[in-house]
Symmetry: C2
Subunit: 292 residues, 2 copies
């Protein structure tokens, strides 16, 4: 479900502070400023270079030197950091937040983060996960239209304040995305299958091909190889954190893929074309369930 | 290596007959006619509708009712049929070919086809494999520019006539692609890794996601899922033939992928983030070997 359809994407949000000015944080800033909402967009990053770049690119209106200063007075704080940094960062900023400030994040996993955040900032944390991104990282890749039309999952525990949820949904709407509310556990199950598993398979394909293709013939692949390996250019540090955080769900999705691949392998070894064709039919029917 | 660089792509080829007017055959016809070479492009397909469509779309200049008539007088015959149909078709047309006619194909596997063709048409069969295509099938998806800039693998056994190889290379050049000569066995090893394995993984991902994503939430995926499943829309009949034909090489590539996935699974189960990050680093370095 989207924010009330027809609502303008330019409702004032008050002061929004983006913590972490990489690809996602930078793109959020550009999208908010593009919306021309009557809002201040404050940014902070541990790297002074990223803060300067964010100002240069117009992604933020100001970028104080201190994190505490950056979050004080914010109505909404958006944590755009790797999943293992969100909760430590939340603990650090909570003493400096306004009493009614709301915090959200953009991490790819939600169950653990929402559970821990609920004890650090009861009722005022809403998990977020934009289904848009790139294998490119850093503010240099940031784009104002990165989230246009994308899904943006919002996850909250039952005790969340209605006002907090509403504020996050207005924010998501302002950056161009469509909100989808999920229970954090359901979220983690779905993204294990449609995001985390595709990343694992892309890494596995790259590894296999490198071991099998003779030196000098690396340009032999075409579309299926390019598409199948694209996200293997993603950051190992970022992704080891995401995958570890959602390990239980990912293993279940991975096991489904391994079961299918093991059956296909057996059909290949047995030269059993009929069995293989049946497996392909079944998987193609599975693919037909998805709109893309 | 390409056909002598700088050579015009419009050298006359004489009469070319395309047998099988689907996506690839239709696109070859459109590309040849775009090149405006002083050539006749004759087409044949088992389906009268496909023959009519090929004429309507301008992919061929004529499309006789009989296969024998279509191939008689051809300097080059291009077999654009599933891999399991190439050799039976070759046997059928050989009695009707001109004494110096050359035959090539576009199948995704080459070792078996080249070996069998060498005994049916000694010295005058050259295997071909354009690294371009689409998960869409049929002449409706045909495009004159489908092969522009793509690799087109040519494979022949050592006893092939030089003239046959030259004629096929001129043809490939005329449709806009770049020829790459390979030993058939090397070809099959490479495409197992960069084409056949990506297809298997796309089918596996579709199957896994369908089993894990709750009904009604199928639109949750984003770029990595779209790219990772795209070729799972391919034809199970066509692909069961390709995969079975190249089973030995595919199993070896698949086993490399399975070994990596099994290690990653173990790291996930053990919550061993360092081990997982190392696996991702290794696979990302593998990906960096490839230009795309």
């Amino acid at each position: 479900v989207s924010y009330p359809p027809g609502a303008p994407r330019t409702d004032p949000l008050g002061r929004v502070t983006i913590v972490g000015l990489g690809l996602i944080g930078g793109s959020i800033g550009l999208a908010l400023r593009r919306a021309s909402v009557d809002s201040e967009v404050v940014g902070w990053d541990v790297s002074p270079e990223a803060r300067i770049a964010a100002i240069d690119r117009g992604a933020v209106t100001c970028a104080p030197n201190s994190l505490h200063e950056a979050v004080s007075g914010a109505r909404l704080v958006v944590l755009c950091v790797p999943v293992d940094s969100s909760i430590p960062l939340l603990r650090e900023i909570v003493p400096h937040l306004s009493p009614d400030a709301v915090v959200t994040d953009v991490g790819s996993t939600k169950a653990r983060i929402c559970a821990e955040a609920a004890s650090v900032l009861p009722g005022r944390f809403v998990g977020g996960h934009p289904m848009a991104g790139s294998e490119v990282s850093g503010i240099d890749g940031a784009r104002a239209d990165l989230f246009d039309g994308a899904n943006w999952f919002a996850t909250a525990l039952p005790d969340v304040n209605d006002d907090a949820l509403d504020r996050v949904e207005r924010f998501v709407w302002a950056v161009g995305a469509n909100i989808r509310r999920f229970d954090p556990a359901v979220h983690d199950r779905i993204v294990a299958a449609v995001s985390h598993l595709p990343h694992l398979l892309a890494f596995a394909l790259s590894e296999a091909a490198a071991n099998r293709v003779p030196q000098g013939l690396e340009d032999a692949g075409a579309g299926s190889f390019r598409d199948g390996t694209r996200v293997a250019a993603s950051s190992p540090r970022l992704w080891s954190g995401i995958l570890t955080d959602n390990a239980e769900e990912i293993v279940q999705s991975l096991d489904e893929a391994l079961a299918w691949l093991t059956s296909a392998r057996a059909a290949l070894v047995d030269s059993d074309r009929a069995a293989l064709e049946q497996l392909l039919e079944q998987a193609r029917a599975a693919k037909d369930r998805f709109p893309q």
